[in-house]
């Protein structure tokens, strides 16, 4: 088979993935300028998550990889989710008032919506 005959198959998957990723990036950028309140950040992060999944599955070829490789990738995401969950369990549950009258804890003040030392 000639080199020219093979070329389209080589380009199809990356180009389709690229078009989808660019459209998602433009959607994320455009949505950031529409006033959606707290949903702006949520939407941008969800789109970023979808882009990462598409990139890992179709460009890093995780979808065609061995089970061992997929297990390693999943383990990485599992450990990082533990790290986020345990850290926020601490920070989001700290009381701002110090019972002993000492300096207040590093916490999130829910009433005024800002952090305080």
């Amino acid at each position: 088979m000639s080199n020219r005959g093979r070329r389209p198959r080589v380009w199809v998957r990356p180009v389709v993935a690229w078009i989808v990723l660019i459209l998602l990036a433009l959607t994320s950028l455009g949505s950031a300028f529409i006033p959606l309140g707290p949903f702006n950040t949520a939407l941008n992060l969800v789109i970023a998550g979808i882009m990462v999944v598409l990139l890992w599955l179709f460009l890093m070829d995780l979808i065609g990889s061995d089970a061992l490789v997929r297990l390693i990738a999943a383990a990485g995401l599992l450990w990082i989710s533990f790290m986020f969950a345990l850290t926020f369990t601490d920070y989001l549950s700290r009381a701002c008032e110090s019972p002993g009258g000492g300096p207040p804890a590093f916490c999130v003040d829910q009433k005024i919506g800002r952090g305080t030392f």
Partner: protein, 210 residues
């Protein structure tokens, strides 16, 4: 000697096993990198939760134009890198070399745009310290994360550009067989660097733009 036989290295019995070894090895490295960048993302998330208003004020100063152009450049470079990998499976030597060279150019263009962006940031004195122009003081936290996260990302990208350039040269000079699984490891690393920018983009450039 066939291309497959030339690409085979000790201690692998065949090329499929060698590819598996490269893929598993690079993914173990990628997971360690996920946790490395994860600590930065976590620190950012904690401080943004504590100081949402300061982060909103600070993030308004980032240059969304440069961030967006660089996102497009890296996404495109990931596509060209994938074409190079698929072409290596087909033995398409010229396509591999062209796509790897294009990947190096796109990565270099990212660093050039990043340099322009850093120049503009420094012109606005957005380096945390005594001359920092924004208030409240917690805005400096955002910019500390900005410099560290984009700086570490740029170092990773510069390393990637160097590795891809060496690989291109090895293929071009026929010092490495076209079927070598080395390209799989390099490509996976490159895509990971792209992944980090996909996450950094909304965290640094899209905060409260409306």
């Amino acid at each position: 000697m066939s291309d497959a036989a030339a690409a085979l290295r000790e201690p692998w019995p065949d090329l499929d096993r060698q590819r598996q070894g490269v893929t598993v090895g690079i993914w173990l490295f990628i997971v360690s990198e996920v946790l490395f960048f994860g600590t930065l993302f976590l620190g950012y998330a904690v401080y943004r939760t504590l100081y949402p208003e300061a982060f909103r004020i600070a993030a308004a100063e980032t240059e969304v134009f440069y961030g967006s152009v660089n996102l497009v450049l890296l996404l495109t470079s990931s596509a060209t890198m994938t074409v190079a990998v698929d072409a290596s499976r087909q033995g398409m030597r010229r396509t591999i070399i062209a796509c790897l060279a294009l990947t190096v150019l796109l990565g270099s263009a990212f660093l050039i745009f990043k340099g322009f962006e850093y120049r503009d940031d420094l012109a606005k004195d957005l380096l945390p310290g005594s001359q920092f122009p924004l208030n409240p003081p917690q805005t400096q936290l955002f910019w500390a994360f900005y410099w560290v996260m984009t700086g570490v990302h740029a170092i990773h990208l510069a390393a990637g550009i160097g590795i891809v350039a060496v690989l291109t040269w090895l293929f071009w000079r026929r010092l490495l067989p076209i079927g070598s699984p080395a390209i799989l490891g390099v490509a996976t690393y490159w895509h990971f660097v792209d992944t980090v920018w996909i996450i950094l983009f909304p965290l640094l450039y899209l905060v409260d733009r409306s």
